[in-house]
Structures are given as structure tokens and as C-alpha cells.
Amino acid sequence: MLKQDIKKPKNIFRSPKMRSDNLKAWFGSHEALNEISLSIPTFHVTAIIGPSGCGKSTFIRCLNRMHEVVPGTRIQGNVYLDEVDIYGSSINPVNLRKRVGMVFQKPNPFPTMSIRDNVLAGLRLQGMKTYDSDEVVEKALVRAALWDEVKDILKRPGLSLSGGQQQRLCIARALALEPEVLLMDEPCSALDPIASAKIEELIHELRGKYTVVIVTHNMQQAARVSDVTAFFYMGKLVEFDYTEKIFTNPKYKKTEEYVTGRFG
């Protein structure tokens, strides 16, 4: 886990899962992102850190076109998934979001559905007939490290779970769709430390199977869970490097100030 292969020539950025190229975004007239070019390494955990309003959430929303849900958002530039432009005319955002799943800040299981139905919600919304749904439910819940806690209460409402369990349920719901990339927008900010630790542990488990991008304003969390870290400031990408580099010897003064807490 302590990435000793830093000095080795193996470059995890060489064939990125996703890549943004001069990405700009605006909310109305406010420029939220300014020319972000970032490569997200395949099967690794990428953390995006930065102060509030630095554009980190906007950025990951641009990765599965979730920003389009908010009226008045515009973008310019390109985002590639496996080197295919996701803003191309042939790409359907609905299909894209199936491949690039998302987990939100606040756990948001569907209140009208049971735990089981929550896991299956994505598949059902996609109109897929799930004949082996029991299998799908178990697999997703196991991957989300929730199965042991809920296997006997699958019929219970999703909201009857604790906050941390709800968040893992949301992760299971996203994983049930077999995404290639999992975007997490501050997934622990509404959780207590123990629940956060479980989510972090889960992110460790997901490494190697999924490409994970996590936005967090908890620097320690970014340090603990990620392989590479991007530091955003005022809509710009200040520094992007291996996590241990960012947290032990960052290249830029702004990053140093932020990770040491001397911001201002």
C-alpha cells in the first residue's frame, strides 16, 4: 500500500480510464472550472481535494454529465472515457451514467423502496429484466461490504439503516449496474468517524476492480485512500501527482499551504 514503486518507470497515467482536456465549466456567468486537463488512472483511486468552491464537485459531475441536471451549466472542452469523447453526439448520457456511477454526499436511498429494491433500482430503471436478481443483490451488497449486516433484513426499508449503512447501500446500488468508474462526491462528509472508516476501507477494497474518483475536503481521507491526488484551487488544477508526493513534498507553494493547513 505504501507505494514503493514511485521510482519505477511504470506510469499509471499512461493509459487513463478517463481524461479531461482543457475542460471549462460555467454556472451562469460564474466560471467554475478553468482548463482542467487531468488523467484518471485505470483501477486506481484518484482523490480530488481543495477548498470549498474550488470546482472539485463540478469536475466530477462533468465526468458523467451530471452537471447537465443543473440548469444553466455550460461546459467547453472534452472529457474522454476510454478515449471516446463523452460529450460526442453519439453518446447518450443515460448510457454513460451506467458506466460511470456516482455516490453522493448525503446517503440517498430511495425512501419508497426496500433495501433489496434499492440495490436493484438502477437495473430496473434501465428496464433490465433481472431474472437472477437475488444474485445481483448479493453480489452488489458483498462488494459494498454490507451483505453481512443486511442479508436477513433485505425487505426492510432502505432508510431503516444507519447513515453509514445507507451510504454503503448507495454504493451497492451504484455497483449493481457494474460501472467501470465510480465517482464519489464527499461520500463521508455526513457520516461519523467509524462509518467513514468503513467507507474508506471499502474504497480500498474497490481499488483494482474499479476506477474510483473521490472528492473530499478531508485531506487525511484523501491521503489514506487514494493513489493519486489532484489539488484544485479557484477552478484551476494546481497540482496532480502521486498522493505521497502531494502529502510529503508537493511541488507548488499553494498545495503545500493547503495540505499543511496554512491556507489564507
Partner: protein, 233 residues
């Protein structure tokens, strides 16, 4: 189930660091033994090997240091994890110094090899044995978090000290009997003082182990002790 996995993720780092430090200890031990062997057998090839090998030890020290720094930066260890990583950094440092001593013993071999052969060494190899066994045992105490063993090793330092003064007396005798011996004897004196330092540093490592396990700081105690009761020594 999750809680056990949680420990794993932390322990993966701790295990990695522990393994690296164990390797480091093995390297240093090997280096000391080889240096003494080269001295004993007047084998310059072995001595050169030891000198070259010190670079590997230095590199290992840097690696472990980086592992520890990354661990602190990324995992923000607390309590026993924090004591662990600070202890490792100090032990790492002590081991690297021991490596340097082994190198300097090897250099004495090179020096003595140019001189005509002298008498057989008896006490120095015995002292080297004591010193290396202390190194081995202090690392053992670290790996097993064995406070009792750590105290035992600290106690054995006296043995090393006695041996050192015995060697010193013998060599002084040699020097007094024949001026010709001075060069060679002072060289061996140097070797024995290096061995004494190695034993000393093993006790330092043991003190770190005691701190790691109990959180108690036992360093410099004897000094305080010695100051308060001068009649003791």
C-alpha cells in the same frame, strides 16, 4: 468482519515497514559478522565486500525512512501506531550507524592486511559475537514486542563493556611491551570500540522497544542514576 479487515489495511503498512526493518537488521548483522570474519582471516576481498555492502544498507535506510514518512503523511498514525513509526525511524537510524561501524571495521582489516600477520585474535571475535547477538536479540524484542527480552539485552551491555576493558588492557600491554605493536594494537582498539558502540546501540534499540510497548521512556536513566549515586560505579 469489517473491523478485522479494517485492521488489515493499516497493518499492511505496518507489516511492510516491519519487514523492511527486519531485512535491514539482517543486513547489518551480516555486515558486522563478515567484517569480523575478514579481520580474523585477513581476507581483503571480504572486507571490500563489506565496504561495498554498506551502500546497500544506506539505501535501505533511506527506503525505510521514506516508508515511515509516507506512512505518517498518509495514515496519520495515532497512539501505538505513532510510537511504532517513531521507534522504527530511530531504530533504522541506529542500524545504519551499526552498518557504518561494520564498514570501519572492514577498513581496519584492509589496513592490518598490509601489516605482517600478528597473533591470533581471541577476545575480539568473542566480543563481536556478543555484539551481534545483542543486535539480533534487540530486533527480536522489537518484532515480538518483548519488553523482558529488551531488558535482558540492556543488561548484557555490561558484558560487552567488561570485554572491551579487557581487550583494552591486553592491547595496552602489547603496546607497552613492543613499540612495533602500537599501530596494529591501536587499530584493533578501534575495532573493539566499534563493537562496543554496536552493543551500546543495541541497548538504544531496546529502549525504543520498551517505549513502543509501554510508552515509558527509559533512555538516559542510568546517567541520571550515575549522577545521583556516584558511589555506585
Amino acid at each position: 468482519m469489517l473491523s478485522t479487515r479494517k485492521i488489515k489495511s493499516f497493518e499492511r503498512d505496518i507489516e511492510e515497514i516491519t519487514e523492511a526493518l527486519t531485512q535491514m537488521g539482517g543486513m547489518v548483522e551480516k555486515s558486522i559478522l563478515t567484517a569480523i570474519l575478514s579481520l580474523n582471516t585477513r581476507n581483503t576481498r571480504l572486507a571490500k565486500e563489506v565496504i561495498r555492502y554498506d551502500q546497500d544498507i544506506d539505501q535501505k535506510e533511506i527506503d525505510i525512512d521514506r516508508l515511515c514518512i509516507n506512512y505518517i503523511a498518509l495514515q496519520q498514525p495515532k497512539a501505538s501506531d505513532l510510537r511504532f513509526v517513531t521507534a522504527v525511524m530511530k531504530i533504522n537510524n541506529e542500524l545504519e550507524r551499526m552498518g557504518d561501524y561494520a564498514e570501519s571495521i572492514a577498513r581496519q582489516t584492509l589496513f592490518l592486511a598490509k601489516k605482517p600477520a600478528w597473533r591470533e585474535l581471541v577476545n575480539i571475535p568473542r566480543m563481536a559475537e556478543i555484539a551481534t547477538s545483542m543486535v539480533r536479540e534487540c530486533l527480536d524484542a522489537f518484532l515480538k514486542r518483548d519488553v523482558k527480552l529488551a531488558y535482558e539485552v540492556i543488561a548484557r551491555d555490561e558484558e560487552a563493556d567488561k570485554m572491551q576493558s579487557k581487550i583494552y588492557k591486553n592491547l595496552l600491554n602489547d603496546m607497552l611491551t613492543d613499540k612495533e605493536n602500537i599501530e596494529r594494537a591501536s587499530s584493533l582498539l578501534l575495532v573493539s570500540s566499534k563493537l562496543e558502540r554496536i552493543a551500546d546501540q543495541s541497548t538504544n534499540i531496546c529502549e525504543e522497544v520498551i517505549y513502543l510497548v509501554t510508552g515509558k521512556i527509559v533512555r538516559h536513566r542510568e546517567k541520571v542514576h550515575a549522577l545521583s549515586s556516584p558511589s555506585d560505579s
